[in-house]
């Protein structure tokens, strides 16, 4: 019974943090299950994938109903994350753990450094100039990017006039840039998700935010939406190949559900700079964990 409660408590913490950052909690669950409970790496990844789907469903439900996530952008990019997760799930059963751990640590450090070097959050988020949208458009100091129906229809109409896929995926107050690089990032995110049991938000959020010009809070919400499909594509391979332990995955996932539900309702009150610092800290800690595992 104590082990059950411990697992569920770990899930609550991972779910809350994951929902706030669009990480899905996987970066915390895999170390929790492998280092804390001595589970084989692959079973930890399988359980983690289940947990990140729960996180995604719970958080994205709230984000969508509040009009924070960009559904069109999310679905377009998740075409590539799902296909890549399929490939990643197959590769995961072929490659040695150590090689994967070192590669992942390097990736995390790169992303953390990229985020840390951005001097100004507003500059990074691409919201300092050329907004031109009406009320309800993205404004970091005013809370989340909540779209009024009028803003949304206007933005869609403007995008249609401008033409182009990237323009049609833009939202009120921001325009999508570098769609091609976003696709590459999505492919990487899908592979990373299936290999390491994370949602892929650690790649998707910075790619959308830093490269594609999506506001941080929209990027986080859209990433949460995409994480479910990405992890589902990888999770099905683990499910059918015996990589999911129901006795571990279920209590952890229930904890994650509770944590994610609480956090997604608190997300509006989290300061953007704090959110970013937390994100960087999580990346660095996870990189150290993965490097230690790789070095052995």
């Amino acid at each position: 019974m104590f082990e059950l409660l411990l697992l569920m408590s770990g899930g609550v913490a991972a779910g809350a943090f994951g929902a706030l950052l669009g990480l899905g909690g996987g970066v915390l669950i895999v170390p929790l299950l492998t280092l804390g409970f001595g589970l084989p790496f692959r079973e930890a990844v399988g359980a983690s994938l289940v947990c990140v789907i729960v996180t995604s469903s719970a958080a994205a439900s709230v984000y969508l109903q509040r009009d924070v996530a960009n559904l069109r952008l999310g679905m377009t990019l998740e075409m590539f994350t799902a296909i890549a997760a399929l490939a990643g799930g197959l590769i995961a059963f072929l490659l040695p753990d150590r090689v994967l751990a070192i590669m992942f640590a390097a990736l995390l450090l790169y992303v953390a450094l990229t985020m840390a070097r951005a001097r100004d959050a507003r500059e990074t988020l691409g919201v300092s100039a050329g907004r031109g949208a009406g009320s309800g458009a993205w404004a970091p100091d005013d809370g989340p990017a909540v779209f009024e129906d009028g803003d949304r229809e206007t933005a869609t109409a403007e995008a249609a006039i401008d033409g182009g896929l990237a323009a049609s995926l833009s939202g009120p107050g921001y325009r999508i840039h570098n769609l091609g690089r976003g696709v590459l990032g999505s492919l990487l995110a899908g592979i990373v998700s299936a290999l390491f049991g994370v949602g892929g938000g650690i790649v998707k959020v910075p790619v959308m935010n830093l490269i594609m010009g999506v506001p941080m809070r929209v990027a986080t919400a859209t990433s949460n939406l995409m994480i479910g499909v990405t992890a589902s594509a990888g999770g099905l391979i683990y499910l059918f190949r015996g990589g999911i332990d129901p006795y571990v995955a279920a209590p952890t996932a229930v904890g994650v559900f509770v944590g994610a539900s609480l956090a997604s309702r608190l997300a509006d009150r989290v300061d953007l700079p704090v959110l970013r610092l937390l994100f960087i800290a999580v990346l660095v800690v996870t990189a150290a964990q993965m490097a230690l595992r790789g070095i052995g």
Binding site: L4, I53, A58, V62, L64, T156, G228, S232, G235
Partner: protein
């Protein structure tokens, strides 16, 4: 159906899937407690669709756990299907194609996993 309405509908689908999953998993966990099954007990029951019905009928924890886990994993697919239908109603062919590709990738994952 405009974007805002579609997004809210999909949000409800995701929320319902999460709640159904949560309830099934909670029932399975309660069953673990009643039957004194620990989370680290080995071997864990394998996933077998043919046994799912009989396990549920016998009120075995494994039945509820696996059904809950299936609900978790399939909820995003239901969301994509709902999106596909919503975009089809709105006549947005490009987004219908996007949703169809995503669903195909998920089905391919299941097929490759089961075949592997």
């Amino acid at each position: 159906m405009n974007d805002a309405r579609l997004e809210r509908t999909i949000g409800l689908v995701l929320g319902a899937g999460a709640i159904v999953s949560f309830c099934l998993l909670a029932m399975g966990i309660a069953g673990m407690g009643v039957t004194h099954v620990g989370p680290l007990d080995r071997p864990f029951p394998p996933f077998d669709l043919n046994r799912l019905g009989s396990d549920l009928a016998a009120l075995k924890p494994a039945g509820f756990l696996w059904l809950g886990l299936l609900a978790v994993i399939l909820t995003p697919s239901v969301r994509v299907l709902a999106s596909l239908l919503g975009f089809a109603v709105a006549g947005e062919r490009r987004m219908v194609a996007v949703a169809a590709i995503v669903l195909t990738a998920i089905c391919l994952s299941a097929a490759l996993g089961a075949g592997g």
